[in-house]
């Protein structure tokens, strides 16, 4: 199962974090810093899977943005790797500009919650992922 998902920029600042297993606030910062350092220190020639403590990290880089997912041993790395891409494609479909992702984190959360729930993949169909968000936008307009 998925333990957490982080979006980090190249400076190591957390842009979005979602935990599917409770982690204390104080420990989160340390964990994030550690995880990010781990991933950022790797170059493009290195594979995207890292063993970290008792779980695994799977990360993907999109321009200046890193998406890091922490999963337990039982998860299939490649499927998570694809999931990250799927997530990014949905973001791409919904947000016109990358910057707007940063300003609409609550919406990113909605998207993410449609894809992953309590650490499991619930939905991968793009239009179905976006359905609640579209409904919400209509609600706001109307």
């Amino acid at each position: 199962m998925i333990k957490f998902l982080l979006m980090v920029n190249r400076q190591g600042q957390t842009r979005l974090s979602r935990y599917y297993q409770p982690v204390e606030l104080t420990k989160r910062a340390a964990l994030e810093a550690d995880v990010v350092r781990f991933c950022l220190s790797r170059n493009k020639e290195q594979c995207s899977f890292v063993e970290y403590k008792d779980f695994r990290l799977i990360y993907r880089q999109y321009a200046a943005l890193y998406i890091v997912v922490g999963v337990t041993d039982a998860e299939n790395e490649l499927s998570i790797y694809e999931l990250v891409h799927n997530f990014v494609e949905v973001l791409d479909k919904y947000f016109s500009r990358v910057v707007s992702i940063m300003f609409n984190l609550d919406r990113v959360h909605i998207i993410l919650d449609e894809i992953i729930q309590n650490g499991h993949i619930v939905e991968t169909n793009k239009s179905r992922i976006l359905a609640p968000l579209t409904a919400l936008d209509k609600m706001a307009d109307g």
């Binding site: 199962m1 957390t14 979005l16 974090s17 979602r18 935990y19 599917y20 409770p22 606030l25 989160r28 910062a29 170059n43 020639e45 290195q46 594979c47 995207s48 899977f49 890292v50 063993e51 039982a74 299939n76 790395e77 490649l78 499927s79 790797y81 694809e82 940063m102 300003f103 609409n104 984190l105 609550d106 959360h109 909605i110 919650d113 729930q117 309590n118 499991h120 993949i121 619930v122 939905e123 991968t124 169909n125 179905r128 359905a131 609640p132 409904a135 919400l136 609600m139 706001a140």
Partner: protein, 1264 residues
């Protein structure tokens, strides 16, 4: 008011929204903390406003700040407020914030129960969705218990969107509230075949996660999953299912055999790498679980290895990494298949990615054999040289040692080679693993006797060149090696060629700069060497050598006597005095050699690391008893004085460094580093400084070293391990040649008897004989050592609680859910529970249609028949026991259900599981599995026969029981299951309706999935009129500000407690704060107050009430006697806060504890009920109600609902009912109606209680 709203919205325009906040933080990079603290102040202001939009905006910003690591727990209540907004846009912000910030110990969570329940049942699917998503993040055991039933209902929602979310969150509910697993499981299983793929996937996810922890309980689902696997096209789902099978196969090898084929098909056909990888992984797992002896599986392994090779050769680093990972799994069971790809793995050592290199190293560890060890290690040594100055090099070093030392040096044929490898490794600068090399040296030298001569020579050289190792000794962990070298040279000094020279090397002044524990070893072993020298000179009349030696000792030892290290100091001064004494004797020409060497005589054998643990405790010895009276506590605080000496005692590590030693060393190194870091005078060396010593001339004792940049630095005089590789090669060739000759001879001797024992092809492991015979001394173990290797499971694993037998759950009649196992349903929810009939139909669509309407019993019998038919098919020797055969077709074998023997026990909670009852289910799986080509089919026959016998017995007993009381019981049992059966039963009921049957089934515990026609606690059949909605909440008190309603529920777990749920509703336009609830305790009933508060203290209501909001709080009361109703006086004080002022208000109330509130709805079977009535200890009483103008079923429903009874049996206008008090009193009612008169005859073991309950019932009906 309108003005206020306008004002609010104008205010809002100037508020920062999330975007502004994000932008602001970006623009304040220099003083981010300050900026954020002002933002937080603003947010606090915003939260104080009444406008929910402002609040939501503030909470939204807080969520962002929380993500940045700021604690926002202070706003928890505001988050709840926003959550309870009716507008979805705000609600979702609230839930998002809650899901990010709340955790189990957040106390406001308990306030959310009602709100979440409301949202879960909201007509808007997004409300429900957001509540489910949020809940999945912060569900607590309490929430799980309270909401389990609501979520279970949602699992059958019409919208797949809700279904899938509800299914997924059930996993969290199971974890927090394991009792819910059994009741919920049948429905969860149903969802595996949901028409919507998303729901299906969710169910697969949950069951996979559950099954991974407790696979044995899910084995019976294998056929279903198998069907899914062969039919599903969703790769995400396939991966999960395949993973699940990986967990199941170890328990059922036949399953594995069945799986191999579809899995290999998938491997061949799929283009998705993730799926391919998963399949390969599972095939490997399957093959591991299958015992060997299936020759056709080598093809599968070959296929896997081939595919993995393709992955590893791929340019994509990810695939390469995973390929190696999977390869290492194959390696464990099929090393031969992997070994042929050694070339590829060695290539990976050159990879740019360190994690790939490490994986390759792991693989190499398992790939070595006697044949290739030297070659592999040679390659690794090359990499060691290349990887200068990285942590990877340290990793390489440990791997080399691991590889060589694995399974007791199994693969080492030439220990001289190994020693020289170790010596070569000592040249690594800056490695942390000096002690590892040292312990290997010690281990080999001690345990391989034949190698000692060589080892001692090498160590002597090392000591001689110690300065090379200790160039920068403070930071250089490698000097640990000297510890080993000194000890080996001392202990086995008889093998030394030139003990004098070594002694001299060990007493060099530079030694004093070594770490203390090493110096101590030096000093001690110098004494041993001294003894050896004396001994070697024995009989030599010329005493100059011995006297020179003594002189050397006396000259050099004082340096150590001055050492700051106690250990060194003590040893040195002892030995110094000893030597001085010896010198005196020598001067008198006394022969002392014998006596001196007696000091160090004898040999210590190596002891296995676990030896101490395995010493058995002698009989009659209790280690826990005190020998003397325990000393007073103050004494035990004394320092343990011996620690100082034992720490560095070299004798202790004779065998090898113990773990403690290593830890201790590490700790001290750490401490030293710390100290150095804090010491401003300590000159820290730059990384390059290590090399300096090579170039600085003029320092004493440095022999000329060849510095050749292309060739690794050589320690002069040391043999290179490479030479051994060559030598070994030659030796082996020679051996082979000799062998051939021998073989030829043998072949000549007996021509026919060849082939089996010796492959003449590539040389096998056994062919390689060690270069010299080594006697590997095994480590000593105590006599009669205990064969123990304790690996205990983590007792804190939450999944332990979920190890619940689920197999029999869906079988009707078998081990029904006991009362205690049911998910609690809150009775006041009855009115809300009604749902659209569409949903019901939807759920029904899944259940198989029954061809005919059937009486409960008939149906059972038919099922038995079906079951029997199947059995017959299977075993093909059915004896005819049935008189009439049904024309019903034999259903689908996988889906058909197995009937279970009727449980004979009286109480549902006591229903025991006869061991044979399981066999039907087991044989079901067996049957499915036996379709696979299994040679062991014969073994199953007894099982099947057993099942057969069981079902036969069942038929007989079923026939015997063909009496009336059986009937409702039957129905009762079905009704207690929220499973397919229930739905079937509903269907049956509908059919019954048409036929106007006489008999009825009554009890519905769960209101879910029942559709319009049913209500809590009473099923409506003939009557079309719907029941009026009922609520158990009655008014407690009310004034212009606030309204309080309450309900009292008994606590099943504790016979002396009742829970009073009070809903506070704010009726005014002002904010209600600081509410305090107090009750004047009576002798009999007391409000439970937190520890430490007095008996008259009031309890703070844990929330505030904004205008129009209501919320619920619960209070626990302890009661002693429950036979009488009670009234308690109480007061609620609160502050009404308006814009300009705040006033204190108070409201008095009377809490009425009726006797009814001590009753708990408890189902009862009719035969148990009958027995109860027969028993003499029940007192009877009766009451008549006149002028009751309502349908009989309404009447019953009212009694059930308001007075916590359950219907046992109902025949026409007569019904028996049962309830139990929290203290275990039985209350039985017989309700009869004729016209408008209702008579209730009642029995109870407590007449007072009964009288009061009857009065209360009477009152209920007089009110309407």
């Amino acid at each position: 008011m309108a003005l206020k709203i306008v004002k609010g919205s104008i205010d809002r325009m100037f508020d920062k929204n999330l975007q502004d906040l994000v932008r602001g933080i970006r623009n304040h990079k220099d003083d981010e903390a300050k900026y954020i603290s002002t933002c937080i102040d603003e947010i606090k202001q915003e939260l104080k406003q009444d406008n929910i939009a402002v609040k939501a905006n503030a909470v939204c910003k807080l969520t962002y700040l929380q993500m940045l690591g700021y604690d926002v727990s202070w706003a928890a209540f505001n988050i709840v407020e926003v959550m309870s907004s009716s507008k979805f846009t705000y609600k979702r912000i609230g839930y998002l914030a809650a899901s990010q910030c709340f955790h189990e110990s957040t106390d406001v969570i308990m306030l959310t129960t009602n709100q979440i329940r409301k949202d879960l049942s909201s007509p808007n699917q997004y409300d429900t969705g957001v509540a489910l998503t949020g809940l999945s993040c912060f569900v607590t055991p309490d929430l799980a218990r309270d909401l389990a039933n609501d979520i279970m209902t949602l699992m059958s929602h019409t919208k797949p969107y809700i279904r899938k979310k509800a299914v997924l969150i059930m996993y969290k509910v199971f974890l927090k509230y394991p009792e819910s697993l059994r009741p919920a499981f049948p429905r969860l299983k149903e969802k595996l075949e949901d028409p919507d793929p998303g729901v299906q996937s969710a169910a697969v996810n949950v069951i996979c996660e559950l099954a991974r922890r407790n696979p044995k309980n899910y084995l019976s689902l294998a056929p279903l999953f198998f069907k899914l696997m062969t039919s599903s096209t969703n790769n995400w789902v396939l991966i999960k299912i395949i993973k699940l099978f990986g967990a199941l196969t170890p328990l059922e090898p036949r399953l594995g055999k069945k799986l191999i084929e579809p899995l290999t098909n998938l491997i061949h056909s799929t283009s998705a790498m993730s799926l391919l990888y998963e399949c390969v992984n599972t095939v490997i797992a399957v093959l591991i679980s299958l015992s060997s002896g299936m020759p056709n599986h080598s093809a599968s392994i070959q296929l896997c290895v081939q595919k993995l090779r393709i992955l590893i050769e791929d340019s994509d680093q990810n695939l390469k990494y995973l390929g190696l990972l999977a390869m290492s799994k194959i390696l464990k069971t099929h090393p031969k298949s992997v070994q042929s790809h050694k070339d590829l793995i060695l290539q990976c050592l050159d990879d740019k990615d360190e994690s790939i290199r490490l994986r390759a190293l792991d693989l190499l560890y398992g790939m070595v054999s006697k044949k290739n060890l030297m070659e592999i290690v040679k390659k690794l040594m090359l990499h060691v040289d290349k990887a200068e100055g990285t942590t990877y090099r340290d990793e390489l070093l440990t791997k080399i040692i691991d590889i060589c030392s694995q399974s007791n040096y199994q693969y080492i044929t030439n220990f001289e080679w190994y020693i020289s490898i170790l010596v070569e490794l000592t040249r690594l600068e800056g490695t942390r693993h000096g002690h590892l090399i040292a312990s290997q040296m010690l281990d080999v030298a001690i345990r391989v006797k034949a190698i000692r001569v060589f080892a001692v020579a090498q160590m002597a050289t090392l000591l001689d060149n110690a300065h090379l190792l200790t160039g920068n000794m403070q930071r250089n962990g490698i000097c640990e090696v000297l510890y080993a070298a000194a000890w080996i040279c001392g202990e086995f000094s008889e093998h030394l060629e030139n003990p004098m020279q070594t002694l001299e090397a060990m007493l060099r002044p530079k030694v004093a700069t070594l770490p203390g524990h090493i110096q101590a070893v030096y000093v001690q072993n110098a004494a041993k060497l001294f003894a050896t020298v004396l001994k070697s000179q024995e009989g030599n009349t010329d005493g100059t050598v011995t006297q020179d030696t003594s002189q050397l000792m006396i000259e050099r030892l004082p340096v150590f006597v001055q050492s700051a290290n106690l250990e060194v100091q003590e040893r040195a001064s002892c030995i110094l005095q000893l030597v001085k004494y010896i010198q005196k004797l020598q001067q008198k020409d006394v022969e002392v050699a014998e006596e001196v060497s007696a000091l160090f005589a004898g040999e210590l054998n190596p002891v296995a690391p676990k030896a101490q643990k395995k010493v058995p405790v002698p009989e009659g010895l209790d280690l826990d008893t005190w020998i003397n009276e325990p000393p007073s506590e103050s004494e035990s605080e004394d320092e343990q004085p011996k620690a100082i000496f034992t720490k560095e005692e070299p004798k202790h590590s004779r065998a090898r460094h113990t773990e403690v030693d290593e830890k201790e060393l590490a700790r001290r190194r750490e401490a030293r580093k710390q100290e150095q870091a804090n010491n401003p005078f300590y000159i820290k060396s730059s990384p390059s400084s290590q090399k300096v010593y090579q170039e600085t001339p003029g320092v004493d004792h440095i022999p000329v070293i060849q510095i050749d940049l292309t060739v690794p630095l050589k320690v002069p005089g040391l043999p290179m391990s490479d030479q051994y590789v060559k030598l070994e090669e030659e030796r082996r060739q020679k051996e082979r040649a000799e062998k051939k000759k021998k073989d030829k001879k043998k072949r000549k001797e007996k021509r026919s008897g060849r082939g089996k024992k010796h492959d003449s092809g590539p040389e096998s492991e056994e062919d390689i004989t060690p270069a010299h015979m080594v006697d590997i001394v095994t480590e000593e173990m105590p006599e009669n050592a205990l064969p123990s290797d304790d690996d205990e499971k983590d007792p804190n694993d939450p999944h332990k609680a979920l190890d619940i037998d689920l197999d029999n759950l869906e079988m009707s009649g078998h081990r029904p859910l006991a009362d205690s196992e049911k998910i609690p349903v809150r009775s006041h929810r009855a009115a809300e529970a009604a749902k659209s009939p569409v949903e019901d139909r939807d759920a029904d669509g899944i259940a198989t249609q029954l061809p005919k309407k059937k009486h409960g019993k008939e149906k059972r019998e038919e099922k038995k028949k079906k079951d029997k038919d199947r059995e017959r098919k299977k075993s093909k020797d059915e004896k005819k026991k049935k008189k009439h055969k049904s024309e019903e077709k034999d259903g689908d074998l996988l889906g058909a259900e197995v009937d279970e023997p009727v449980v004979q026990s009286e109480e549902p909670s006591q229903a025991s599981e006869p061991p044979t009852s399981n066999s039907a289910e087991v044989s079901d799986l067996d049957f499915w599995l036996s379709n696979a080509p299994v040679p062991s089919n014969i073994q199953e026959v007894p099982k099947v026969a057993a099942a057969e016998a069981a079902s036969a017995a069942e038929v007989i007993s079923g026939g015997a029981q063909d009496s009336e009381p059986d009937e409702p019981k039957d129905a009762e049992m079905e009704a207690t299951k929220p499973s397919k059966h229930k739905k079937k039963k509903q269907k049956k009921e509908k059919e019954d309706k048409e036929k106007k049957k006489k008999k009825h089934h009554h009890y519905h515990h769960h209101s879910d999935g029942v559709g319009e026609e049913s209500v809590q606690n009473g099923t409506v059949e003939e009557e079309e009129e719907p029941l009026p909605s009922m609520s158990n909440y009655c008014l407690l008190a009310e004034n212009s500000y606030i309204k309080m309603v309450y309900d009292i529920q008994g606590n099943l777990q504790d016979g002396s407690q009742v829970v009073v749920s009070v809903i506070f509703e704010n009726k005014c336009d002002s904010f209600l704060k600081s509410m305090e609830f107090n009750v004047l305790d009576s002798l009999n009933s007391k409000l439970q107050r937190p520890e430490g508060s007095g008996p008259h203290d009031s309890l703070a209501v844990p929330f505030q009430l904004p205008p129009g909001v209501s919320n619920e709080a619960r209070y626990v009361f302890t009661v002693q006697s429950i036979v009488m109703p009670q009234k308690l006086k109480g007061t609620l004080t609160f502050i009404v806060k308006t814009e300009e002022s705040s006033t204190h208000e108070k409201l008095d109330f009377k809490l009425h504890f009726t006797c009814t509130s001590y009753l708990i709805t408890t189902p009862c079977y009719s035969d148990a009920f009958a027995k109860l009535l027969e028993s003499a200890d029940l007192k009877s009483s009766s009451v008549r109600l006149e002028g009751v103008n309502m349908p009989f079923h309404h009447l019953l429903a009212r009694i059930c609902f308001h007075h916590h009874f359950s219907v046992v049996e109902r025949i026409d206008s007569c019904a028996s009912m049962y309830s139990r008090s929290i203290q275990g009193h039985h209350v039985c009612l017989l309700v009869k109606t004729s016209g408008q008169t209702v008579s209730i005859d009642a029995k109870c073991d407590e007449p007072m209680l009964l009288g009061n309950v009857l009065d209360e019932i009477k009152q209920t009906f007089s009110q309407c």
